[in-house]
């Protein structure tokens, strides 16, 4: 009778052994660059652009370890040497990794993270891509029109009648919901519903919740006819995306730094939103989107 359960456990054991083997083979090698990314489209896209740029410009072999489970998994992977680089956001590094209190000044955030990462982790920040992917407090367009909502401060008026649905990271982070609620005086009818970030867009579009916290460069905002409310009290710090790379890797492969520098300042907010929409809304293959972008912008 226990044969069924025993076999199941054996399968599970086998799966774990496979995971362990994959992790081991994922270790950074001397002669190739391992690029990681977080578990959402934009991070995969930027990881792919960075990977192809290194392949094109240096001829080095690049291994991809994409869709890792969020900021901290990537951070632990890069400090442990499992990956050589991944794309991080300045505000996220500033508040969530370095645990500084949120500030709104773009340059001081970048300089602080660059300095602290070099000192504490032996990691270098390359120059940002150029866009700012901030948290986007997002509502349905028809609600925004009906209730005259343009800014987050307008939300305080309707909040007592509304339901909010947020991802776990937004609920937990220092620059997340608690601070937002305090700064804007938001009181919702019930505590926000905690759910998977990717599901919040669908829940909003289907009317199951009334306000969510997405990302300002997400392709779904346009596709689902949603409106992003303006952060009129400048609560959110800047979230400029830039590659973070191990200093040891930069030193060992000269060409890599130069290849990454060519990407600096090349992607605007609108351009990032367009690329995300190509992948998320039109379901284009990420490698193709990255290749086309590189071809037309850095021939």
């Amino acid at each position: 009778m226990t044969g069924g359960a025993g076999r199941w456990m054996a399968v599970e054991g086998g799966a774990w052994a496979l995971v362990a083997a994959l992790l081991l083979t994922g270790c950074a090698h001397r002669d190739r660059i391992v690029v990681g990314s977080k578990n959402f489209t934009e991070s995969d896209l930027l990881g792919e652009i960075v990977a192809q740029q290194i392949e094109r410009r240096t001829g080095l072999a690049v291994a991809r370890r994409f869709h890792l489970g969020g900021t901290f998994v990537c951070h632990q992977a890069i400090t442990a040497g499992q990956i050589d680089l991944y794309v991080e956001y300045t505000g996220t590094a500033y508040t969530a990794v370095l645990k500084h209190a949120p500030v709104a000044d773009r340059d001081s955030v970048y300089h602080t993270v660059a300095r602290d990462y070099a000192q504490r982790f032996g990691l270098a920040w390359v120059k940002p891509f150029g866009f700012n992917n901030t948290f986007a407090i997002t509502v349905r367009r028809r609600d925004a029109t009906r209730d005259g909502l343009r800014r987050i401060s307008d939300l305080a008026r309707v909040a007592p009648r509304w339901r909010a649905g947020f991802g776990y990271e937004f609920l937990e982070r220092a620059d997340g919901f608690r601070g937002l609620a305090a700064v804007y005086g938001l009181r919702f009818a019930a505590p926000p519903i905690a759910m998977d970030l990717g599901l919040t867009y669908r829940a909003l579009a289907e009317g199951k919740v009334d306000v969510i916290a997405g990302n300002s460069t997400d392709g779904q905002i346009q596709a689902l006819d949603l409106v992003v409310l303006e952060d009129d009290r400048h609560y959110f710090p800047p979230y400029e995306a830039a590659p973070v790379i191990r200093r040891a890797t930069l030193a060992r492969h000269e060409g890599v730094g130069a290849a990454l520098d060519q990407l600096a300042g090349r992607i605007s907010d609108a351009e990032m939103r367009r690329l995300n929409a190509l992948a998320d809304v039109e379901h284009r293959d990420i490698a193709t989107v990255a290749r086309d972008w590189l071809r037309s912008n850095l021939p």
Binding site: W8, Y168, R173, I193, A194
Partner: protein
């Protein structure tokens, strides 16, 4: 922060989440039994349905839970966000082991025993309730056991759709990489799975002798 410090400071919340977790597993398993056992019996009476039904249950098993939630959100009655959607997903995942083992338990009854029952003039209903179900009970219970133990683990995904449970600590812990938080959710879930396994092990030993 140590795990025990965390538990003593958040005892109320922990108990609440354990309660939610238990009720998610219990209600989904009960529904899966109510649907799955008669379903498995039906398959023994309609052999032509066996391949498509088990194939479908197999297919359900392969749908990633987040994708399933995505499909369920827009649906009326069984969808939306919250406990209902989570329970529907858990039932979908629990069906396969229960249906398959019910079918296997009854189909595995010695044909000679079944013939003897028929020879004694038993109706199909009597044959089912007095011969096949008692003899197949051990295998059926083993299916329920697997379904329950797997459910305890799978129910952590309920936290992705606002249904609470111990997954809340795991999701929160992963979001801010706090190992204490992850453990705070994973440890009670693991203990719950072991307890469920032991409990069903006892039940199997109690009933399975009839099959020997």
């Amino acid at each position: 922060m140590s795990l025990w410090g965390f538990y003593s400071r958040n005892a109320g919340e922990v108990l609440g989440l354990v309660g939610q977790h238990l009720s998610l597993v219990a209600s989904s398993t009960v529904i899966a039994i109510v649907v799955g056992v008669p379903g498995g019996i039906l398959l023994t009476r309609r052999p032509a349905w066996r391949a498509p039904v088990l194939g479908l249950a197999n297919l359900f098993q392969t749908i990633p839970s987040l994708a399933l939630f995505g499909f369920l959100i827009p649906l009326p009655f069984i969808g939306g966000i919250g406990a209902t959607t989570a329970i529907v997903a858990l039932v979908v995942y629990a069906l396969l082991p229960i249906v398959r083992n019910t079918y296997a338990g009854i189909a595995g009854v010695d044909p000679a025993v079944r013939e003897a029952g028929r020879g004694m003039g038993m109706t199909d209903w009597q044959l089912l309730t007095q011969v096949e179900l008692p003899l197949g009970l051990g295998v059926i219970l083993a299916g329920v056991r697997v379904a329950t133990v797997v459910s305890v683990g799978t129910a952590t995904i309920a936290a992705a759709i606002g249904a609470g449970g111990l997954g809340v600590y795991i999701f929160r812990g992963v979001a801010v990489v706090d190992d204490t938080l992850i453990l705070a959710g994973a440890l009670p879930a693991a203990l719950m799975a072991l307890a469920a396994d032991a409990l069903f092990g006892l039940a199997e030993r109690r009933f399975a002798w009839r099959g020997k």
